[in-house]
């Protein structure tokens, strides 16, 4: 892999929230590399640390109570860790931007949508405000909203329309990396598909890399090149779409797939993952999935490291090197 091709290079990211009720360990030593133009799905349950990871990339984890530690955080070769606040402001919205989960609350109710898109353009590009407003109207057209609606306020738009506006804001300056945090969770299923298509098209057009945060494996299959499965603040399995979907290696990933209804056999019982995600203030020692894992053994209390399956496929499960011949059921079908 060519170093220059990396849009994002993240090594050993740790985020914790130091609250009255204890230290919440949200992200625990996460590594993530994203190549130019690719899209990575970040999958996991609520509370797995997906949104925190995204906020850490924008350097927007609220401090206090949040504390961010990281070995390396580079965006297109620029070190985000050593940047001052004003340097970060130049990067945010321009090189890296984010689409938030709930379009109903993501837009400021007292400014017109045109003003909100134009603000981003005016901040980052050397244009007059009138020009920025013109560009904002063009952006609206791009996301399928008539440009003259730029003068309207967010409450005059439906949920799906608002999400289009949010996408317009995020893509207004053609960022190198776009983080989409469950962009369709709050939308109707029919609108979901439209919004996803729109994102895909614009992303290809602008050569933007994408981190798609979701808990919907269907969305991942549809638009992602690579998948990273998160559990308790860490990536437990990472690989190409085929690696993770067809050659599943981690017991947690297997559990996720077993929880999906199988369309060819509608009478089949779902196999849920038993138990609950761990309390992030009291993570178990070693593998965080151990208390819920059907394959758990003595070696699981050891600190876990990423185990290489292939050039593209990594799994964070000690069973693969401490128990010779170890395989999970799903993986056994596709060795």
């Amino acid at each position: 892999m060519n170093e220059k091709d990396l849009v994002l290079d993240l090594k050993n990211l740790v985020v914790r929230y130091e609250t009255e009720g204890g230290i919440v360990r949200a992200v625990n030593g996460l590594d993530l590399q994203i190549r130019r133009g690719t899209s990575v799905g970040l999958v996991g349950e609520t509370g797995a640390g997906k949104t925190t990871t995204a906020l850490a990339l924008l350097r927007l984890v609220p401090d206090p109570p949040g504390v961010v530690e990281c070995e390396r955080m580079e965006l297109d070769g620029h070190d985000l860790l050593s940047m001052s606040e004003s340097e970060l402001e130049k990067i945010r919205g321009k090189d890296i931007s984010m689409i938030f989960q709930d379009p109903m609350t993501a837009l400021n109710p007292v400014f017109t949508v045109g003003e909100q898109i134009a603000e981003s353009i005016y901040l980052h590009e050397d244009v007059s405000y009138a020009e920025a407003q013109k560009r904002a109207a063009e952006m609206l057209e791009m996301v399928g909203i008539p440009g003259e609606r730029a003068a309207e306020y967010p409450f005059q738009f439906s949920g799906g329309m608002k999400q289009r506006v949010v996408i317009a804001i995020a893509l207004a300056c053609r960022p190198k990396l776009l983080i989409a945090d469950e962009p369709t969770t709050a939308l109707d299923v029919t609108i979901q598909a439209q919004v996803l298509d729109l994102m895909q098209n614009l992303r290809r057009q602008y050569q933007t890399s994408l981190i798609m945060i979701t808990h919907d494996l269907g969305i991942v299959a549809e638009i992602c090149d690579e998948v990273a499965v998160m559990y308790a603040g860490n990536i437990v399995e990472k690989g190409t779409l085929e690696d993770v979907f067809l050659r599943t290696k981690h017991p947690y990933t297997e559990g996720l797939f077993n929880s999906i209804p199988y369309i060819k056999d509608r009478r089949a019982m779902l196999t849920p993952i038993y138990g609950l995600p761990p309390d992030p203030t009291r993570l178990p020692e070693g593998c965080a999935f151990r208390p819920r894992c059907p394959y758990a053994g003595d070696d699981c209390t050891q600190p876990q490291t990423a185990h290489r399956i292939s050039d593209t496929h990594y799994v964070r499960c000690s069973a693969y090197y401490s128990r010779p011949g170890f395989h999970i059921k799903r993986g056994a079908d596709n060795p």
Binding site: G93, F100, A106, P109
Partner: protein, 309 residues
């Protein structure tokens, strides 16, 4: 928007009728026969009754109320017994002083509370937050007339920087306005802070930050414009408090306004003057609150749109 304003004005009419009934009835209960009180000592019973008729103070309560309201519609609030002048003229002469005081106090309150509330919210749980909350709590709890006296002792009597009373130019409005503004500032600081704390947790503030908007612009443009909405909604009651508080403050600073006039009227059993003062006071407040509500509708596009349809 026009329809909204008309509707609001129509809604004011029953409220004002109710106010007039309450005030008229209460003032009628006040002990003492005011006509006998103001008639010359040697006046006979008949002369007193004659005077009562002339003043329109004869007949049963309801009859007098309707007569009063009829006159009121023509802008006639009756005659002040102690000043021998129409009530409306007496009031008009004194009102500008009260208006000056009330608006001065609100300017003081705004200048203190909005920056203090914002600072407290943006430095949540810091010493600055603690300091502004303690200050606000003291402002809310302090009797304004006492603060006024303390300020007189310090700035007028000890230091001699400012006049202790009366109305002579700008310097004389400073102490009364600060006195009256301090209590309002306490309330407004608390409201600004909690409103701001609420707003800066909103997703759209995070969206603004993610766009690369600088922290200062995030706070003063994106957050403040939203946080000001609840402050504008209570602006009407703030103004009401200012007018009400003016009664005591005008007494402390010998300020020739309508608050002191009302107390004077009550103490001198000048019932027409007292009734007129309270009615006019209430009327002015109600109209001001209406104006505030309209301004509020303009500040919040959601409400404006609801009424323009």
């Amino acid at each position: 928007m026009g329809r909204y304003i008309v509707r609001r004005i129509l809604l004011m009419i029953p409220v004002f009728l109710g106010v007039s009934l309450v005030v008229f009835f209460l003032m009628d209960l006040a002990p003492g026969d005011i006509v006998a009180f103001m008639a010359p000592q040697e006046a006979t019973e008949e002369e007193i009754e004659q005077l009562r008729k002339e003043l329109g103070l004869d007949g049963p309560l309801i009859q007098r109320y309707f007569r009063y309201m009829g006159n009121l519609l023509r802008g006639d609030f009756g005659m002040s017994l102690s000043m021998k002048q129409p009530v409306i003229d007496v009031f008009k002469a004194r009102f500008p002083a009260t208006a000056k005081l009330a608006f001065g106090s609100i300017i003081v309150a705004m200048l203190i509370s909005v920056p203090l509330g914002i600072a407290a919210a943006t430095h949540h749980r810091s010493w600055l937050d603690g300091f502004s909350m303690v200050t606000a709590m003291l402002g809310v709890s302090m009797p304004s007339f006492w603060l006024g006296l303390l300020l007189i002792i310090l700035f007028a009597l000890r230091l001699g920087w400012l006049p202790s009373g009366g109305i002579h130019g700008f310097s004389s409005v400073i102490l009364p306005a600060i006195t009256l503004g301090a209590g309002q500032a306490g309330h407004l600081t608390r409201i600004t802070r909690s409103s701001m704390l609420e707003v800066i947790r909103q997703d759209y503030v995070r969206t603004a930050r993610a766009k690369g908007v600088s922290e200062r612009v995030v706070i003063y443009k994106h957050a403040l414009k939203n946080a000001l909405i609840p402050i504008i909604t209570i602006f009407g009651s703030t103004l009401g408090n200012a007018f009400g508080g003016a009664v005591a403050i005008e007494t402390v600073f010998a300020w020739p306004g309508v608050g002191r006039l009302t107390v004077f009227a009550i103490n001198h059993r000048d019932i027409p003057l007292a009734t007129g003062c309270i009615m006019l006071f209430t009327m002015i407040m109600t109209v001001t609150m209406l104006l505030v509500d309209i301004a509020y509708a303009y500040a919040d596009p959601r409400i404006k749109a609801r009424y323009s349809q």
